[in-house]
């Protein structure tokens, strides 16, 4: 399998006169958990939105397992946005039905099991749930798919530390050898242990892309320490 899970070639995105991403080249292999790290406003969310087809690049091209962003790529990309995107009148079970209808790779039983473990009330309407519980529901939906590429934008920001551990374990356990997980966050210390590789973004450009092991072996540093050095204010 030579085909890369994600291939970004000279991708640029401007909002008016502001360049959010400039000439980004990335080639992500399958079977890795990769951190997308960078300070606020560095273009993490823009990059993720481009990959999942919510934005179109001004220049360059993106390919997910050989597909341009479109219906084919959306069927194999599981995207968790950094906001609540489920209609608030739906119950949790409605949301599960919705995902089962639209995503062939959605594992309904698995989702029900995860919701039970996280003690989410399945019959409650979304609008009655707390912000953290909503995040859990979304994460359960997204991780219950057998996707090729998971895009997790700030997945653990709003949940308590206990749920955070469960979620990270879930991500670890779900990660089979074909799938790649791209996690954007600035809570680096919390997720550092699960990352195989990391990408540093700054001002819309890739500053470094390396494996966690090589950083530890060559420089003897953790990503968190390295991040603080690179992005010192």
């Amino acid at each position: 399998m030579n085909q890369k899970t994600l291939e970004c070639t000279e991708v640029s995105k401007n909002f008016g006169s502001i360049a959010a991403l400039h000439n980004v080249n990335l080639s992500l292999p399958e079977g890795k958990i990769i951190g997308l790290l960078g300070p606020n406003g560095s273009g993490k969310t823009t990059l993720i939105k481009l990959i999942c087809g919510l934005l179109t690049p001004c220049e360059g091209s993106i390919s997910i397992c050989g597909h341009e962003p479109g219906p084919e790529s959306k069927a194999i990309v599981s995207y968790l946005p950094e906001r609540s995107y489920l209609p608030d009148w739906m119950t949790v079970l409605d949301c599960l039905d919705f995902f089962r209808d639209f995503y062939e790779d959605f594992d309904y039983e698995k989702a029900v099991g995860m919701l039970e473990n996280l003690k989410v009330p399945a019959k409650a309407r979304m609008k009655t749930l707390s912000k953290g519980t909503k995040e859990k529901v979304q994460l359960v939906l997204v991780m219950s798919r057998r996707a090729r590429l998971y895009l997790l934008d700030e997945p653990i920001g709003g949940v308590d530390p206990a749920a955070r551990d469960y979620i990270l374990n879930t991500i670890l356990r779900n990660y089979d050898e074909n799938a790649t997980v791209l996690i954007s966050t600035h809570l680096i210390a919390d997720i550092e242990m699960v990352l195989d590789e990391f990408i540093f973004l700054q001002n819309g450009q890739v500053v470094s892309y390396a494996s966690t092991d090589s950083l530890r072996e060559d420089l003897g540093k953790s990503i968190d320490t390295y991040f603080r050095e690179v992005f010192r204010c």
């Binding site: 999942c52 087809g53 919510l54 934005l55 179109t56 479109g70 219906p71 084919e72 959306k74 069927a75 990309v77 995207y79 946005p81 906001r83 609540s84 995107y85 489920l86 209609p87 009148w89 919705f98 209808d101 639209f102 995503y103």
Partner: protein, 292 residues
């Protein structure tokens, strides 16, 4: 996938619109009861006595209130349809809508089809509620009033005897026009909301309303120009008819045939503009999506 989209869109609309239709029918029944009560008390065939006037005032007031409720509920149907569209395409829900593995055109088709179906349902409910009122609320002497239907039936059979097949074409055209204009209106508002969402960073809804009028003006200018070009021809044909000494039925059939180009033009324009609106909407949500 289109079927699944329609299923879910229809479900999310029905959640609010079904109760609304029930309210319309319920309000109709109450208003009808109040109205017939008033009619009968006017004719003096019912109760008399003290406190009775107050009851009459209340019932009159209630029937007006119910009538207003029916009108408000039918306007609300449109509001709900476009609010759901806005939520699903422009709000945070857009993150879900636009990452579904479907084509952008399928998203639009689903929204359009559901809106047309609900417009028709709402039209049928209003028709039903009018008929309930005519049947049970317009007679002071009997429970049901069939007078209106007898007159209508006679009118239809008379017209049919007089003109016969000449009326088939205009009726078909009328039905087509109704469908075309419902579709046109829905797509007009969808496009306005989409442009508003794509252009504005804040106040997307307000921008959408603004673009509704902008589109309106552009379409207005184009159709006025086209109609102006057709007018001399129509006028010439009509003045030709003037000298022909036609009788009753013949005047109508002749008029219908003279109006044909005009009717077809306006039907054609609705269709062409609908197609343009759809394609523009599709292009924008495919390429210029601008979610918060």
């Amino acid at each position: 996938m289109l079927g699944k989209l329609i299923k879910h869109d229809f479900k999310s609309l029905s959640r609010m619109l079904v109760p609304m239709q029930v309210i319309i029918l319920g309000a109709t029944i109450i208003a009808t009861a109040m109205f017939s009560f008033n009619l009968r008390s006017d004719s003096g065939s019912l109760l008399t006595g003290t406190g009775f006037d107050l009851l009459r005032i209340i019932s009159a007031f209630m029937s007006v209130l119910m009538l207003l409720a029916i009108i408000a509920a039918s306007i609300l149907v449109a509001v709900v349809i476009f609010y759901r569209f806005y939520k699903s395409f422009m709000s945070d829900e857009g993150y879900l809508t636009f990452t579904l593995p479907v084509k952008s055109s399928e998203l639009l088709w689903s929204k359009l089809i559901c809106a047309i179906i609900w417009s028709l349902i709402s039209g049928i409910v209003i028709f039903l509620s009018l008929n309930i009122f005519i049947l049970f609320g317009t007679s002071s002497t009997s429970f049901v009033n069939l007078e209106f239907y007898k007159v209508t039936a006679k009118f239809i059979s008379d017209t049919n005897n007089m003109f016969g097949n000449a009326l088939v074409l205009p009726i078909i055209e009328f039905v087509l026009m109704v469908f075309a204009s419902i579709t046109y209106t829905i797509l007009h508002i969808y496009l306005a909301l989409i442009i508003g969402g794509a252009v504005a960073r804040k106040h997307k809804l307000a921008a959408g309303i603004g673009f509704y009028f902008v589109i309106n003006i552009i379409v207005g200018i184009l159709s006025t120009v086209l109609q102006f070009m057709m007018m001399p021809r129509l006028a010439a044909n009509l003045s030709l008819m003037d000298g022909q000494n036609l009788e009753g039925g013949q005047i109508l059939t002749s008029l219908i045939s003279q109006m044909q180009p005009y009717v077809l033009l306006s039907l054609g324009m609705s269709i062409v503009f609908s197609v343009v609106f759809f394609m523009a909407s599709n292009y924008l949500i495919k390429n210029k999506l601008n979610l918060d």
